[in-house]
């Protein structure tokens, strides 16, 4: 285990969280404080670039690299809460470190804004920080009220795992890291059909029907497994399963009422953090009504 005094990160917030998923940020900051992680605010950051990749790959690289340069200037590794940001920044960081031609090209763009990619930073998702840097022992140390009878399912999201050749984290067909982290809270994390299936968030601007179908299928599998809640680690997945759940229920005529919690909320509840400190009222599917499940 790394010395907790050394656990400092440049906190990359991304766009989706300030746009609509403040509950994730609130709860992540709360557990970071409990675990003694120091999150340094990131000045003048911009979109990670991912949503622009379909339009212009070079602009995606440039935006991503600019964020990486900001981290290099601060001499800190980046921590993100979003799978999309983590995936993009990790992928670009790795590509620019390894591919000299791409690095020269992108540094040509960065020259226009007085920056240069040097390849001296690292990027981690919160889950990687918890699993690799913090470690299970320290997480167990903050769990004061482990869940006794809670059964949950996890949705990992795609961009932290795939393309696996580039991400090099966990097993993309049968990921276990999040399940182990959930286990530390005392909750039972159940297996269910098609666990790694995408939430479909990225196509919602083009076709709003397909993500709703994917949400329904996921929630059916989660319910069939006997889980009482779904745990996510990505703001876009969370929006798709929580924010869009009532819309899906109206549109497809099937009621689920499945609470969707961010992993930091689950951990914070097990750490006996007061329920009113976790922005649970921000969720579309009422969690507070079912809070007895989590006590």
């Amino acid at each position: 285990m790394a010395n907790p005094a050394e656990l400092r990160y440049l906190f990359f917030l991304g766009c989706t969280i300030p746009y609509r998923v403040l509950s994730y940020e609130v709860s992540a900051r709360k557990i970071a404080e409990k675990l003694g992680l120091r999150l340094v605010e990131m000045p003048e950051f911009n979109c990670c670039g991912l949503p622009l990749d379909p339009i212009n790959h070079e602009m995606m690289l440039a935006l991503s690299a600019r964020n990486l340069c900001l981290a290099e200037q601060q001499g800190l590794p980046i921590m993100t809460l979003c799978n999309g940001c983590a995936g993009t920044l990790r992928k670009v960081n790795r590509a620019l470190k390894e591919d000299k031609e791409a690095r020269a090209r992108v540094n040509g763009y960065l020259k226009e804004i007085g920056m240069e990619f040097k390849g001296t930073t690292e990027v981690k998702h919160l889950i990687q920080v918890l699993a690799d840097d913090v470690g299970p022992e320290r997480i167990r140390g903050i769990v004061k009220k482990p869940f006794k009878n809670l059964r949950v399912a996890q949705h990992y999201g795609c961009h932290l795992l795939r393309p696996s050749k580039e991400m090099g984290f966990d097993n993309p067909e049968d990921p276990v890291v999040l399940k182990k982290l959930i286990g530390l809270t005392g909750a039972r994390c159940l297996d269910y059909a098609d666990e790694t299936q995408c939430c479909g968030a990225t196509v919602s601007g083009i076709n709003s029907e397909i993500p709703l179908q994917l949400v329904r299928e996921k929630l059916q599998h989660v319910r069939d497994a006997g889980a009482q809640a779904l745990i996510t680690i990505c703001p876009s997945c969370h929006l798709t399963f929580d924010f869009n759940q009532p819309r899906m229920e109206r549109s497809l005529g099937e009621k689920f009422d499945t609470p969707v919690l961010h992993y930091p909320q689950l951990l914070a509840l097990a750490a006996d953090v007061n329920t009113n400190e976790l922005a649970l009222e921000e969720h579309k599917v009422n969690v507070l009504e079912k809070i007895s499940l989590f006590c």
Binding site: P18, C47, A62, Y109, I113, H159, I210, Q213
Partner: protein, 178 residues
């Protein structure tokens, strides 16, 4: 006698561009189009294809290999890829399917085919530095929840990067909507 559909008798020539697949393969991320042998693992693994009647990644790659440039680049289904990378991970030939599809979308944009949602996104990033317009209400909510204020993005940097990567053209012109 049954009325015959006269259009069915018209033979429409299919335009084939033999250089197209090389153009794709020369683009960053397009190289592996070459090794696709049309097994269909991508389509059978695709979460979107399960619920769409028009989106078939295998078919799009085949059209690209055959040189059906116009048909590929003007194809609305091209924009249904969710970028989950399941196809890329499972391809037995090592085709980076999602990256080839992204390459095709980049090429479609350069030809003027861009869905409105993406054109609006391009403008938002240049105007705010973020992928969404974050309203005053959300900023106020941050304060109420005790969160630090959101830093302002450097819009001058955004504009310069957009210029040098030729992204600016897309946001300004938008091309014709596909």
């Amino acid at each position: 006698m049954e009325k015959r559909d006269s259009s069915a008798e018209t033979v429409k020539p299919v335009k084939v561009n033999p250089h197209f697949r090389h153009e794709v393969m020369d683009f960053p991320g397009g190289k592996t189009l070459k090794t696709c042998f049309q097994c269909g693992t991508c389509t059978s693994s695709c979460p979107v294809a399960r619920f769409s009647s028009s989106y078939r990644p295998r078919q799009i790659l085949q059209m690209a290999q055959l040189g059906l440039k116009e048909r590929v680049l003007s194809n609305e289904a091209l924009w249904l890829c969710a970028a989950c990378f399941t196809c890329t991970d499972r391809c037995p030939q090592g085709v980076e399917v999602a990256s080839v599809l992204r390459t095709l979308r980049n090429m479609a944009v350069a030809e003027g085919f861009i869905p409105e949602a993406y054109r609006a996104l391009a403008s938002t990033v240049l105007e705010t530095g973020y992928a969404y317009k974050i309203t005053g209400l959300r900023l106020k909510k941050r304060e109420e929840l005790g969160l630090p204020s959101l830093p302002k993005a450097n819009l001058l940097d955004m504009a310069k990067l957009a210029e040098v990567t030729k992204f600016l053209k897309v946001a300004e012109r938008g091309g014709k909507s596909s």
